[in-house]
Assembly symmetry: C2
């Protein structure tokens, strides 16, 4: 996979999150492979139905956090492209893994996991003005 | 990959952890692909050298936690076999992802991430007596 293409899909994931766009979120997740989503502090969700229900609840909640992503790096592991990035929230910064496969000529998510990060790099200045 | 083979490698990972066996830990990680390790609360480690240095520090520390794994499930995502499991420590229970690829006819780790889990399933009775 082309790293820029994967980072674009990763940005699209966080844009869908910020914009509360459930349709975009649904399009971003694989339909052909098992999918895994581990929200911070949650139990693992391991089916597309569970994962989409979680996003419907999160994106429909006005109090859900507004997330900015920065520092994304792509690692090609076989036919998986793994993005490791940081998530800036009001309450702190998390480290996240987002794994993509190619499906219908687009990178699609098969895995998301976000977890605490004690000493993350500082967010870049420009990430604070992204809509 | 055969799920039982992957779960055996996953068990070997936790056995190496418990037994403080750095050689076994080194053999478990891929040498051919980029590797990622996100210990709980740590910044992501994204090179084999960094990751092995972290295991050397952890396994060499007598105060490092003794981890028991339970509830492992395997999800085949393209070339990756992804294990989602729970880690029982003295201080609580984490959820972990361990991703494997086939290398030299063995499942090898390319990714480990452990994070908080608010409401994990109870550990099975037998996991409390594993050495």
């Amino acid at each position: 996979m082309i790293p820029e293409h994967v980072l674009f899909a990763n940005d699209a994931f966080y844009l869908a999150f910020r914009e509360r766009d459930l349709d975009a979120m649904e399009r971003l997740w694989s339909r052909n492979l098992p999918v895994i989503c581990i929200h911070p502090g949650w139990n693992p969700l391991t089916s597309r139905v569970e994962i989409m229900a979680s996003w419907q609840a999160i994106l429909g909640n006005p109090d859900a956090p507004r997330v900015q992503c920065y520092g994304g790096r792509v690692f090609q592991q076989g036919d998986i492209a793994s993005v490791v990035c940081y998530e800036q929230l009001e309450g702190g910064i998390l480290v996240a893994t987002n794994n993509f496969v190619m499906e219908d000529d687009e990178p699609k998510l098969v895995h998301h996991q976000a977890s605490d990060c004690a000493d993350p790099p500082a967010p870049p200045q420009e990430s604070q003005v992204i809509q």
